[in-house]
Symmetry: C2
Subunit: 273 residues, 2 copies
DNA sequence: ATAAAAGTTCCATTTAATGAAAACAGGTGC
DNA sequence: GCACCTGTTTTCATTAAATGGAACTTTTAT
């Protein structure tokens, strides 16, 4: 059971969001009232009232098992237009399609969010590649996986150090690199301009990624290719790296350099994953 | 300016959601306080308080223009796990990839939501096809476009009639079929088992779609291919229809037949599109 | 059949939301 | 440089609305 109690915070909104987060953590089967009340740290009557209101708004719907609740379709529709900072998703879409078409491998677009990277778009290649972020909307700590590492490697030294310190244990927990290997990878990435994961967490999986910078030079996102070890021949690797860098530069040039959300961690640092 | 006033409803939640809907309707540039207050029908101080709270939760973030607000990344992450009724998105993913790989055209997965169909997943083909729903999370009235029409054609007679009456004007407004043509298309779709749009709204665009039924026979979704007129040769059309039907049947067999969200319109009927 | 657990309703209490008014910031034109 | 306008923010007395304990009902397990 994942606890999503709105600790410290108060207000109706925090409680409602706590319920939504509990439901988000629960998958498509949904959660029963008691579980929700427990997870959100609310008395059952209160949780019930909230669920009814949320249901009235379409943000929550009845689960498959009758006596359960889950996130509703309306929430999905509502949020589909979010997660597009500086219009990055729209700007990146054509580039992603071009890269996917050129190499027939899966392409990912990740943006930074505090200590994490969030997958905001994906374009499938010929073979289905599972990404570390899971589905679109998923988070990985910066430093785990090629896209995420490409972002981390391009941060200013002080910020990079802070993130490394914060994320190291999380990265280890999830089977990523240890400190020495990570620091080596960061240097290598910074030197070459792209991150190269020869043989990733899933045996045989490999990938390449480049940072995307806005016109001020700030790293805001990463463009990443996921493929397999055997498909990543030296010739293809070189061609991929070249194309990724070209496309990333084009995206960066088109992006708005004055976007506060892409600057510093800010308020939304309590990364849940 | 799109008004999203929480008419009739009350409670803190409705107001917060009204603000989110206003922001969702506004695109990535965001909205200023006054516009939000206006759109949500709230006094400015109240709107401001809500925005601050929502920002604290990560559901809203500062827009690019400094003095503006837009939907936040956290909302995107939160809702990414929604919009998966009966696990349909997960169940459909492999089928979509197979179809996309087989024909190299774009594949769509739509679910019904009241009088609308919502695009919940997409797999890109070799040429980018713009769908009527816009992006993932977008809505179209049932009866506009092949996927949406495949669903409508498969509804029980009474329900179909209700939806047709409700949607006809909306469909016309958006350049769709008139009543006679729509009814002919519905009959044709029901007879053949798939919906065939020879030359769609965008000149030259064409598509095929089949309904997805759960094990009780209820239509719950549609699997759709978007392509161009010249790529839709008779041979390919036959092969596509056959494969779509096969894959749709497989998805339907795997889906949970006791899912309340997929039964009737229910409470979330105030379709905004 | 019985017990235990989950869900639901009720309502007196209290907290927290509300929004008018007023102060404040930041442009624009004179 | 000053007055003006528009949009934003703070304050605070008022009031409405959220709260959750206790009691009751339904469902599930034994």
């Amino acid at each position: 059971m994942v606890k999503v109690v709105a600790e410290g915070r108060d207000g109706v909104l925090s409680r409602a969001v706590a319920i939504l987060r509990a439901l988000a953590a629960a998958g498509p089967e949904g959660l029963r009232l008691s579980d929700i009340a427990d997870a959100a740290g609310l008395p059952k009557p209160t949780a019930l009232r909230f669920l009814r209101n949320l249901q009235g708004e379409g943000l929550v719907e009845d689960g498959p098992s009758g006596r359960s609740y889950r996130l509703g379709l309306d929430l999905f529709c509502l949020a589909a237009r979010a997660g597009n900072p500086s219009n990055l998703r729209d700007l990146g879409r054509p580039a992603m399609l071009r890269v996917a078409a050129a190499f027939e491998d899966t392409v990912f677009l990740l943006v930074r969010s505090g200590y994490d990277a969030v997958l905001i778009d994906r374009s499938e290649g010929v073979l289905p590649v599972r990404s570390l972020t899971g589905d679109i909307g998923g988070k990985v700590p910066l430093g785990l996986g090629q896209g995420s590492t490409a972002i981390l490697a391009s941060l200013p030294a002080g910020e990079q150090e802070e993130v490394v310190r914060h994320n190291l244990s999380l990265i280890r927990e999830r089977g990523g690199l240890d400190e020495a290997a990570l620091r080596a990878a960061l240097l290598d990435t910074a030197r070459k301009g792209y991150c190269d994961v020869a043989n990733g967490l899933i045996p045989g999986s490999s990938g390449l990624a480049v940072p995307i910078r806005d016109r001020t030079g700030q790293v805001v996102a990463a463009l990443s290719i996921g493929t397999t070890l055997e498909r990543l021949t030296p010739e293809r690797r070189a061609a991929m790296a070249e194309m990724l860098q070209r496309e990333a530069a084009a995206i960066g040039d088109a992006s708005n350099p004055f976007d506060p959300a892409l600057r510093r961690p800010g308020a939304s640092l309590q990364g849940s994953g």
